[in-house]
């Protein structure tokens, strides 16, 4: 038997105050769970997250989605630490899509911010109940007992009872109102370098990803979409495809008119994925390409540049920028651009869906199971809770799998055919008909006095907004999306922020680090250009910019930003940069995003047009760290992703359609480009903040600054070295 019978108690409802009053039911009362049919009356879970068997085997559920960022190790390890569980006795299981796990939509580097405290409290609660159970057995006071590594120990006589022995007794213990959390100095797992719980499975090929789902009677599908957004199927001749051996159906997928819905397409169903992919090529399709057929990113980017190099729509203003510019000793302006990016996770979009008369089951790599429940519920006219979503390990996601159009499509095919369907998008479909990070242009003009103080800052940004998915009539980014510009930590008294026109012609979708990619690039690079103009070095110039910020509410942040920038400089040998060989240089950048601070020092060697990144010193202050090795890995990975987008990756549209198709013309970084990355994480007692995304932003500006230091050449356009496609 397992711990049970916490029924009719409001077990553990915790307000995640840090995220603004969000109430997270870590576990609903047992009777409510039973009433909802989620579990049977007897109950076999202490709550949604912890389950201890009478042999002591412990299961801790992770409700947030895992895509390689390590959340399914970090959060359960926090539970295990607080409950004094032996990590070796813990099995981590991924929770299905279910509100009992709290918010599961995994994005915005928010998991730790939202879930750290409630998960710790869940663990501490379990520990308190186990101790209470032991005290009852020993007829002593709980204060006379302590827990350690899956045992409760009697302080008086050193008697020990295992968690397994105590589990069902603990189930009858009262739930503590406010469990006591451990002190930092007593942590065994939190803040340590804990290996991922599942890497043993990874190295033998046994880790199951969404794409690996197999079911009896499974049919395989491949799909093609209209290459231009907004286009529609004009005619379809499926006869050749249907003639192929192993092909059973050709299904037209309707457009889902919702922000993250399928754009519609034509799918082939076959005995295996390869046959389905071959058959798709035999479909004779004519598309009505629609109004975006003239979309050309080369022209569009030039238009964005024009739109930011002339007055645009006011987003925010403080002080008197006209006066500042009028009194300026130096004036400086620059325009920065960036292209569309494709997330391109190694696992393409894939899911299995089986729609039956009385059930609908989904197995998917996803960042957003609740959205699948909602959308398929609407589509099938069923309750969201009746859509069972098994959240699979995602083979990378980077924001792409927040948008589950590929699941909608599999559901349509299963509904039409009655079979369980595995739909896998080919790499080409993923590259050509996905969601894309915004193409963008930013223009900055600044004024300085004779001391190198920045007195005025005009910032115009133009990029098609993610908001266009929700409101297609939107023709420019709204002021709220420019908040990171207005609230930037640089101290500039007079500032004007404007939004340039930028209508969307493709689907814009969050990519790891979101706005920070281009804001970080523009701020970090322009600061370097200003420093040069003022005759100062980057570090002292940026410190001066921070020091000029007199906003009381930002002082704590400024202190942290300056601190990590200093560490990055120090570790990189910034002070001795004059001694570097000719052609080498170090560039710095610091950026604040997802409530974390990341600074980078990039050391390059430049020979002609060839840029070789030698070393990267990366410093992150994300408050308290849950898993030191996981945090280090996230920074290493962020450098690589930052390097891909800084140097080489760009999605190009011509005639409304994406030109790139696979990794030969979307050249992500490969191993020979890998610099020596050194990650530095200062100890902190601040609340834990974002980790998955904030590392991406500072790389590109630090690289631009490094190349300038090494060669005098300034790169203002991402990627620096676009492939001609």
């Amino acid at each position: 038997m397992s711990i049970s019978n916490i029924s009719r108690r409001n077990f553990l409802k915790t307000a995640g105050a840090a995220t603004g009053g969000l109430v997270i039911g870590v576990a609903l009362p047992m009777n409510a769970l039973a009433a909802k049919g989620i579990m049977k009356d007897s109950g076999e879970e202490l709550n949604a997250f912890i389950q201890i068997d009478d042999n002591g085997d412990t299961i801790i559920y992770c409700g947030r989605c895992e895509m390689g960022q390590g959340i399914s190790t970090a959060l359960p390890a926090a539970v295990a630490d607080e409950m004094e569980a032996d990590w070796a006795r813990v099995t981590v299981k991924q929770g299905d899509g279910d509100e009992k796990y709290g918010p599961q939509a995994t994005g915005g580097s928010a998991s730790i911010r939202v879930m750290f405290q409630p998960m710790r409290e869940a663990g501490a609660t379990a520990k308190a109940m186990l101790i209470a159970a032991a005290a009852k057995v020993w007829k002593t006071s709980p204060d006379n007992c302590f827990a350690e590594s899956h045992f409760v120990i009697n302080k008086t006589n050193n008697q020990r009872l295992g968690y397994g022995e105590l589990a069902s007794i603990a189930a009858n213990m009262p739930v503590p109102e406010k469990p006591t959390l451990k002190n930092k100095s007593d942590f065994k797992y939190i803040g340590k370098a804990l290996p991922r719980h599942d890497q043993g499975e990874v190295v033998v090929g046994k880790r199951i990803y969404g794409v690996d789902t197999k079911l009896p009677g499974l049919k395989y599908a491949a799909i093609v979409h209209c290459p231009v957004l907004g286009g529609a199927l004009k005619s379809l001749d499926k006869s050749d495809a249907l003639k192929m051996k192993g092909v059973s159906d050709v299904i037209e997928i309707p457009r889902f008119n919702i922000p993250f819905g399928s754009i519609g397409g034509v799918a082939v169903v076959a005995d295996n994925s390869w046959t389905a992919q071959q058959a798709v090529k035999k479909l004779k399709i004519a598309w009505d390409l629609g109004e975006n057929v003239s979309y050309d990113t080369k022209e569009y980017k030039q238009q964005l540049v024009r739109n930011v190099e002339k007055p645009a729509t006011l987003a925010s203003e403080r002080g008197d920028i006209k006066k500042a510019f009028g009194e300026a000793k130096h004036k400086m302006s620059a325009t920065y651009t960036g292209g569309h990016l494709s997330h391109a996770p190694m696992e393409p979009n894939a899911s299995v869906v089986w729609v039956q008369k009385d059930s609908c089951e989904v197995w998917a790599s996803t960042q957003s199971p609740a959205d699948i429940q909602k959308v398929l519920g609407q589509y099938l006219k069923r309750e969201p809770k009746d859509i069972v979503v098994h959240v699979a390990m995602a083979g990378g996601a980077f924001g792409r799998k927040f948008k589950c159009d590929y699941v909608h499509e599999a559901a349509v095919i299963s509904q039409e055919t009655g079979a369980p369907i595995q739909l896998i998008w080919t790499r080409e479909e993923d590259m050509r008909t996905g969601y894309y990070h915004s193409i963008n242009a930013q223009h900055i003009e600044a004024s300085m006095d004779d001391q190198g103080n920045v007195t005025g800052w005009l910032h115009r940004a133009a990029f098609p907004s993610i908001g266009t998915l929700f409101d297609p009539s939107m023709i420019r980014t709204p002021a709220r999306s420019l908040g990171d510009v207005t609230d930037h930590l640089f101290g500039v008294e007079n500032m004007r922020v404007e939004s340039g026109d930028a209508k969307a012609h493709t689907r814009i979708g969050w990519y790891r680090a979101v706005y920070a990619i281009f804001y970080g690039f523009a701020f970090g690079t322009f600061a370097d250009e200003l420093a040069y103009k003022a005759g100062k070095d980057h570090l002292s110039f940026v410190n001066q910019l921070f020091d000029n910020n007199k906003n009381k509410e930002q002082q704590a942040q400024i202190k942290r930003a300056k601190n990590i920038l200093a560490i990055a400089a120090d570790k990189s040998g910034w002070d001795k940069r004059q001694n570097l060989p000719k052609g080498q240089g170090i560039g710095l950048a610091v950026h604040y995003s997802f409530q974390s601070f990341v600074a980078m020092a990039v050391h390059v060697e430049v020979k002609g047009d060839d840029i070789k990144v030698l070393n990267v010193d990366c410093v992150i202050d994300c408050g308290q760290v849950l898993n030191l090795d996981g945090a280090t890995a996230q920074m290493e990975g962020a450098v690589v992703m930052g390097m891909s987008l800084a140097l080489s990756t760009e999605v190009t549209f011509r005639g409304g359609a994406v030109v790139n198709s696979n990794f030969h013309d979307y050249p992500v970084m490969r191993i020979s480009d890998m610099p020596n990355v050194r990650v530095h994480i200062p100890d902190s007692d601040e609340s834990p903040t974002g980790l998955g995304e904030p590392g991406v932003a500072p790389f590109a500006p630090a690289l631009s600054n490094a190349v300038f230091a090494a060669s005098g050449k300034r790169y203002r356009d991402l990627p620096f070295k676009p492939l001609s496609v």
Partner: protein, 155 residues
């Protein structure tokens, strides 16, 4: 007589369209899912397996060309998951999402089989075809060097 192929020591009849790439024969026909689909064009290395000990991209090799050949997949690289590379991968906490890692390990195993102590440059050259989008390259390099060290001590 039916044509067959030997996968991880077991003979399997090739009872599919011979043009089917080995990848899909493994994944969809035999349901050995350790070998991954990444690009379908031999560009990313996620599908790397061994044919008679040598690394190949299974997504572009028709199964009919492999009659009688010995295929090793990640599931068959070692008896107990204890190949020096697998151990080094764990020791260095290499995987993030882990999706590409089967291909990385298989490619590295093929490298070490012909070059027991590769230089950093040789590692780069050999591993250049294997993409990791999470960016674990630094740890991959370290793990390969470590495994090479282990192997050299075994000899």
């Amino acid at each position: 007589m039916k044509q067959s192929i030997i996968i991880n020591g077991t003979e399997h009849a090739i009872d599919v369209d011979g043009n089917m790439p080995l990848l899909w024969f493994l994944r969809d026909h035999l349901e050995f899912t350790g070998t991954k689909f990444g690009c379908g064009s031999g560009l990313c290395g996620a599908c790397t397996v061994h044919v008679d000990g040598q690394a190949i991209r299974s997504c572009v090799i028709p199964v009919s060309t492999l009659v009688g050949k010995k295929i090793t997949t990640i599931e068959g690289l070692s008896e107990n998951g204890d190949h020096p590379l697998q151990k080094a991968w764990l020791n260095n906490n290499v995987p993030q999402c882990g999706y590409c890692q089967a291909g990385q390990i298989m490619n590295a195993a093929s490298l070490l089989a012909v070059n027991a102590s590769p230089s950093e440059e040789e590692i780069d050259t050999a591993m250049q075809g294997n993409i990791c989008r999470c960016g674990t390259y630094q740890r991959i390099k370290k793990a390969i060097v470590e495994a090479a060290d282990t192997l050299s001590k075994e000899v």
